[in-house]
Each structure stands twice: as C-alpha cells, then as structure tokens.
C-alpha cells in the first residue's frame, strides 16, 4: 500500500546539473564555468588560510562544546555580522533598531524574510530583477507569495543595466511592494548600479514606500573592499529607510558548506526590534529550531579579532584580485583574437559572475565541441578561469561566436 504513487520524478536543479555533466566528461581540457564557488589558479577549491587557522584553534579548544545555540543564533556572530554590514558607526545599530537573526546562509535568510513578510507585512507583492538567482522565485513561492513580478534589469544590447526600464518598473510597482535588490555583484549578470543610480533607486523606494530586501552574498568578495561593497545598503540606512538584508558568508569566508548567514531587519525602534525578533524566532523554531554552530563560530572569531580580521581582508583581496586579473586576461585574449562583438562588459561587470552575452545555442556548442560548461543563459563563473586555461576558453568563445553570430548585440560604436 503506497500513499505516494502520484509523486513524479522532478527535473534536477539546473545549476547542479551542469557540474554533474562536467564531472562525467573525461576530456582533458574540460572547464567548469558553471560552478558558483571560488577556485584558485589551479582550479581547486580554496579554503581561506584564516579559516583553516581558526578551525584548528577551535578544534583544540576543549572549553568549547556543541550545545544548542539560541533560536536566533550566536550573539557574537549576529553582532559582528550586522556591524560588518552597516558599519561600526551605524546609528540604527546604536539605537538598537536592527533585528538580527542567524540563518542557514543566504537561502535561509531570504526564506525567513519571505515567511515573516507573508505573516506580518500587508503587501504580498514581490519584485525580482530580471534576471536573478533562480532560487529567489522558489523561495517566495514556497512562502506562498503568488504575486511575484519582475523589474527590468539586464539590457541585452548593451550587456549593461537597463536603468531606465528598472526605474520605470519600480515607479509603477504597487505602493509598499517588496523589492529584491542585489547589494553588490549581481548574480547572474555581474552588473551593479553606480552610486548615482543607487541614489535614484533609493528615491523611488522612498517615494513609493517600497520595502527593499537586499541580497548581500558578496560583501568584500566583490571588490575586495567591505565598505565599498556595502555602500548601497548603508545608503538606505543613512537615508532612514527601513529594509531587510540577507547576508551570506559562503563566498566571502569560503564557508559554503557550513551555511553561515544572517537576516537583518531595520525597524523603527528598539521595542519594534524586540517584537520583530520574537516573531522571527517563532518562524525559525518551526523551520530548524536553532541554527548550526560551526560556521557562525568561525566567522565570529575572525570578525571580533583585529589581527584575524586583517588577515581575512588579505584573503578577500587574494580572491577578488584573482577574479579581476582573470577578467583582464580573458578580455585581452578576446581582443587579440579579434572575436566579433565588444567585450568590455567583462571588465565592467563585478564579482564572481559575468553575463557573457552568449545564448543557449552558443552554450550548447561550448559544451559539445569545447567541453566548456556554463549556464544556458550565458553566465560564466570567472573563478573557473585560470591562467592555465584562459587561452583555451578565449579560443573556444572566439570559435563559437564566429560559427554562430551573436544575437541582439548592438555595437555601441
């Protein structure tokens, strides 16, 4: 007797699937540009030296145990994370208006936000940038948001930001709508608004009372500068906006599998903060009871120790520096090959990812002929490029684009 005969086999997750295909390929020059994690110049996973150091210290400290964390997480972690995000001079923190709850990395933070908003926020409309990280849709859908809309973001012809379209769409959004904003290093395009554009976005949010939910997964990782990467979030805070921010420490601490993150919500007063936090705890209790200890402990140890903090910033510079260098090398190779189209967007985009402008047909060709794996929307993970394979990758793009012309591309010259 089975109750679940109706359960059908679901399609595998698209992004994980790319890595599966890559693993199954035996071609000696294969390259995985689909993975969403940092790689060193040998194409290997990189554990930050400061993380290894701290883990060893924690393992040998027998005063530590594995007891349950409080429902809202490790306090030293929450405090340090919100300070990192909003800056040490944040008036919102000083006034105890910032509700911080530890989460299962960025995904868990956004899920917690979605569940909280569904319960306590009157407007059930959410806007996502087009395109955005696909899991954003799934998360809001699973929290029962049925009115999920998109605002224009990526401009195919310029490989840049469709700022006019973005502002128009936000202007037309219902008052009070929730708006997902990528704090920095937009995933999947790599395109971020300029400071001036962020000011204008903030203006619209203020005027239309839009509730911003920042997805901040790359602070420090994007440019190597934690303050610069948090600029947009801090702008909103400085302007007295109330908003939410999901933070992940997967990339900037390389702690992918330890699931360390927070959800921060700026409220109007410390009384509100207590009320909001009590409700977030209720939601978290029914999801996971309390968050995992290990990753939070590592991050808290680093952020709260000046010497380790400096070391972490150096590790950040290593990662972001290598990404910038690979962008430069890829661009130069494509230029040297005379690859049709302009490729300056590779230099202008920020963070781990770049929307190359290749379409699904190009992606298929890259896979079949060149054994190079990337997402079907043309997104590549720059960290998958090394000084050892950048020539191969450039030649492959060159061959592919010459065989199948780029569509919808307008040469700005």
């Amino acid at each position: 007797m089975s109750f679940f005969r109706n359960v059908h086999l679901a399609l595998p997750d698209a992004i994980f699937h790319i890595s599966d295909l890559y693993r199954a390929d035996s071609h000696p020059q294969k390259v995985n540009l689909g993975v969403g994690a940092y790689r060193d110049d040998d194409g290997k996973p990189w554990v930050l030296p400061v993380v290894r150091k701290v883990e060893a210290t924690l393992a040998s400290d027998h005063t530590l145990n594995h007891e349950y964390l409080p429902i809202d997480g490790l306090k030293s972690f929450n405090d340090a994370a919100s300070k990192l995000l909003l800056g040490s001079h944040s008036s919102a923190i000083r006034e105890e208006r910032v509700c911080v709850v530890q989460s299962l990395s960025g995904t868990g933070a956004i899920r917690l936000a979605a569940e909280f908003l569904m319960k306590f926020y009157s407007v059930k409309t959410v806007y996502l940038p087009r395109p955005t990280w696909k899991n954003h849709f799934h998360i809001f859908k699973s929290a029962s948001f049925s009115d999920v809309r998109e605002y224009r973001y990526y401009c195919k012809s310029t490989r840049g930001l469709d700022f006019t379209g973005m502002l128009k769409d936000l202007e037309k959004a219902p008052e009070g709508a929730v708006v997902i904003l990528h704090a920095c290093a937009h995933n999947p395009t790599g395109i971020d608004p300029s400071k001036d554009q962020w000011e204008k976005i903030c203006n619209v949010c203020e005027r239309r009372h839009l509730l911003a939910l920042f997805d901040c997964a790359y602070q420090g990782f994007a440019t190597g500068d934690v303050d610069r990467d948090a600029w947009a979030v801090r702008l909103f805070a400085k302007r007295g906006m109330q908003f939410l921010c999901a933070m992940s420490f997967s990339k900037n601490f390389g702690l992918y599998n330890e699931r360390a993150g927070i959800l921060a919500l700026i409220t109007g007063s410390s009384e509100e903060e207590s009320a909001v936090r009590s409700q977030m705890k209720k939601i978290t209790r029914a999801l996971v009871s309390n968050p995992p200890n290990h990753g939070a402990r590592i991050v808290a140890t680093v952020l709260n120790n000046p010497a380790l903090y400096e070391e972490w910033k150096q590790n950040l510079a290593t990662m972001s520096g290598r990404i910038l260098h690979m962008r430069q090398l890829l661009y130069e190779r494509l230029l040297a090959l005379g690859t049709p189209g302009t490729w300056t967007h590779i230099l202008e985009h920020i963070g781990l990812f770049t929307y190359t402008g290749l379409d699904a047909n190009h992606v298929e060709r890259m896979k079949i002929i060149h054994h190079i794996y990337l997402a079907s929307d043309g997104r590549i993970n720059i960290a998958g490029i090394t000084s050892g394979n950048v020539d191969y990758v450039a030649k492959a793009i060159d061959e592919t684009v010459k065989a199948l012309p780029l569509d919808g591309f307008t040469d700005p010259h």
Partner: protein, 437 residues
C-alpha cells in the same frame, strides 16, 4: 513626527492643489510622515518561550543548591555539558584531513546518509538492500519533521491532517502547522497512572479517519518518558495497518533511551516488518551530543526504487528553497563515528554510559524518596525512559519547588533527568517529599 516637517510638506503640496483639497492633502501628508516611520509597529511581541523562562529564572536564582530540571540536553554527573570523547576524536581526525568547504549536495553527505539509515533500520534491512528507502540529511530532527511535513502537504493525496500524541513535544504543532497541515491529537498519556493510555490510544487510532498521518515517538517519548511496551507496539502496528494510517516516526533518542540501539529502534523495525511504508525523522543531537551542529535525517520508505528516486527528487525541491543544502561539520563527525569500527564501538560504550547515568538517577531518586518516607507510588519514575520524566506534580507543586527550593522545572511537571546528579538527587527527593507528603 516633527511639526516643522509636516508644515513644510503641507506647504509644498498646497502650492499645486486647490483650496478644497488642502485639508485632504494635509492629512495625507501626516499619514505619509507617520507611515514612513515604520511598517512594523503592529507586529505583536511573541509570548515568552516557557522552557526558556525556566532557564532564565534558574539563572537569576542565587541559591547554591539550585537545580535546573528544564534543560533539554544531557549533563554529566557534575551537571556539565558533555562532549563525547569519541566526538572529539572524530573531530581531530577530520582536522588532520584538511578537507575543503565546498557545498555538499542538497541531500547531504552520502557516507553519513547511508550509515544513518542503516543505523535506524538495521544493517540487515531488506528495504535498504532493495533500494526502497530514500534518505536526505536535514537540519536535525526539526528539519526532518519540517521537510516531511512539507512533503506530506504537497504529495499526500488524502487529508492534510497530522495526528500527534497528547502531550507531545511542543514544537511538533508549530512545525506541522507551518508546513500547512492541520494538527490534531490522539490520547497517549494517562495522568492517573503517569503511564501509557494504551486503551485511549487504540480507541483513537480506531476513530482517526483512514489514510491519515500519525506521529509516533519511536522511543523515550518527549515530554512524558512513557513508551508503549513491545506487545502494545505490535497491536498498534496491526491496527494502523488495517486502518491504512501512515506512520511518521520521530526518533530523537535511538541508543540514548535504553542504551541499546536495537532495542530503541524496535518499533520502527517492527512497523517496517509489518509492511508499513513509514516516514522517519532521525536526530543525532542527543545520542552523539551534536546538538548545535544540527545533524539529522528524513527517510521515506517506498514501494519501489523508482518511487524512491521520484520522492528523493521532490524532497530536494522542498529543501532547496529552505536552506539550499545542509551544514557539513556535524555530518562529517557523525559519519566518521558511524563508519569507523573502533570509533563506532567507542561511541556505543559512551552512549550506554549516558543512558545508564540517566537510568541510575531515576533509580536513586525513587530510593531516596522511599528513604525520606514517601508513601506515594513513584514507580513511574523508573518505568519511564529517556531524558524526561513526567513526575505527576501539579503546576502549584512545581511553582512551590521553584519558590521554596530553587528547583526549576516546567509547569507540566516534566523533570529533565539530565539535570539530576548523584550530588543533588537527595536534595531533590527531600524537596519533592516535602511538597507531596
């Protein structure tokens, strides 16, 4: 709201509006100014957590003889948190391997997942051998229940109602309600005997609508400590099979209850042998002391390996928008212990050590109460099993214990035996005797 700001906003708006609209625009300005202040002023402050309240009161108390009997984690005979030596050993071995920190798959560490389901169902399990199980790593037991609840809500074709015992772990209701299920109760605890209300359970299982989901605590029922006897489990299994009820086992104490991992898994394995296709939530929080690392699994037993694959794919879809993938650290420790023979053997010894200490504290408490001269029947203290004991004390008596003796427990009379040590058991007996004689 600054008066000047209102006036300025009003003047600004009034420049473009006819006279008749001035009052309207003024109120709109005020509303806007006030609305801009906060969206969250209507969020109500949630009720305080009852168990947390016990701990807080305990912390405030300065009586050197104070006792915290609300704690839900094991304590050693000095009342201290206990990191199992085998866990420390496993952690050292892991550090030496210098592993990377890459994302693990949505379903977790495969070595751990495989070992975990074998641990629960037995190494000889034909269900595992025939590929009829699908197991996913979850955020401890809570996560397993939530993923299971979500799966049931989405794919269980019948009543979206889940039945939990009365009483049950307080969080069951919240987890299943937030999964979108209606939560109902079946009789379980007999207050008169401080024991199992077998007749009540059987009657309710007879009247629960067919094809409903029923939560069963596999062993060491939380909060009562009252478990069915093996013969009673057999009858429950037959009845549930004939009424086509779907058993969802919550097993958070395998090995921790009696000290024997096979004995504690009796009910789960019995039901499988009787042909039930169960759901099973497993936690390694207590039996490995890995509480804060959030280590657990959800297993769904299926009728074919194809169905197992289909169900696994849907569990992954449920997990991805919750937390993408589970944390690795605790899973690696648990995998190391389960899969390394000499560590596994060491673990079973330490696990039995914890169970034995709890059992001996139960015995000592009853002996001490008898020595004090108590004439009440305290048999239930030693009949009950696991971390918790439903003492039978009333709410007033619990309050009295806190007020007069600095002994803190939850108002339902639940004692966490982990808070009892050889050094304080006599004091506890004295206090209980004083308020119950």
């Amino acid at each position: 709201v600054q008066p000047l700001a209102i006036i300025m906003a009003y003047l600004n708006a009034s420049r473009v509006l006819p006279i008749s609209n001035h009052w309207k625009s003024l109120s709109r300005c005020i509303t806007t100014m006030v609305a801009k202040r906060s969206w969250w002023c209507d969020v109500p402050l949630g009720p305080p957590d009852p168990i947390l309240g016990v701990t807080e009161a305990f912390n405030r108390d300065e009586n050197p003889r104070k006792m915290n009997l609300g704690v839900g984690a094991y304590r050693d005979d000095d009342g201290r948190p206990y990191v199992l030596p085998v866990v420390r050993k496993a952690e050292e071995r892991l550090m030496a391997r210098r592993l990377d920190k890459e994302y693990i798959g949505i379903t977790g560490v495969p070595d751990f997942t495989r070992a975990s389901v074998r641990f629960a169902l037995g190494t000889e399990s034909e269900h595992i051998r025939n590929g009829l199980t699908t197991t996913v790593q979850t955020i401890s037991g809570t996560g397993a229940l939530r993923v299971g609840g979500t799966f049931i809500h989405r794919f269980f074709p019948f009543n979206k109602v889940i039945y939990i015992p009365s009483p049950s772990w307080g969080n069951h209701t919240a987890v299943f309600r937030d999964s979108g299920l209606e939560v109902k109760k079946y009789r379980y605890y007999d207050q008169a005997t401080c024991g199992f209300d077998f007749n009540g359970t059987m009657e309710d299982l007879k009247t629960i609508p067919e094809k409903s989901v029923v939560i069963l605590h596999a062993c060491a029922h939380n909060p009562t400590g009252v478990d069915p006897k093996q013969e009673q489990w057999q009858e429950m299994s037959h009845l549930m099979k004939s009424r086509r009820l779907l058993p969802f086992f919550d097993m958070a104490y395998q090995g921790f209850a009696s000290g024997s991992i096979d004995r504690d898994a009796y009910a789960v394995r019995l039901f499988l042998g009787d042909g039930h296709q169960i759901l099973l939530a497993q936690s390694f929080a207590k039996n490995m002391g890995l509480y804060g690392e959030r280590v657990g699994h959800l297993t769904v037993v299926c009728e074919s390996s194809d169905q197992a694959k289909a169900i696994e794919s849907q569990l992954k879809i449920a997990i991805r928008p919750m937390y993408s993938s589970p944390p690795k650290h605790g899973a690696l420790i648990a995998a190391e212990v389960l899969n390394t023979p000499e560590l596994y053997d060491q673990w079973l010894v330490e696990l039995k050590g914890m169970a034995d200490r709890i059992i001996s504290m139960r015995r000592k408490l009853v002996e001490s109460l008898e020595k004090e001269g108590s004439t009440r029947n305290w048999l239930h203290v030693t009949d009950q099993i696991g971390m918790f004991c439903y003492s039978g004390l009333s709410q007033q008596q619990c309050e009295q214990l806190a007020r007069d003796y600095s002994i803190y427990l939850t108002n339902d009379g639940r004692i966490s035996m982990a808070g009892v040590t050889s050094k304080n058991v006599d004091y506890l007996a004295q206090a209980i005797h004083e308020i119950t004689k």
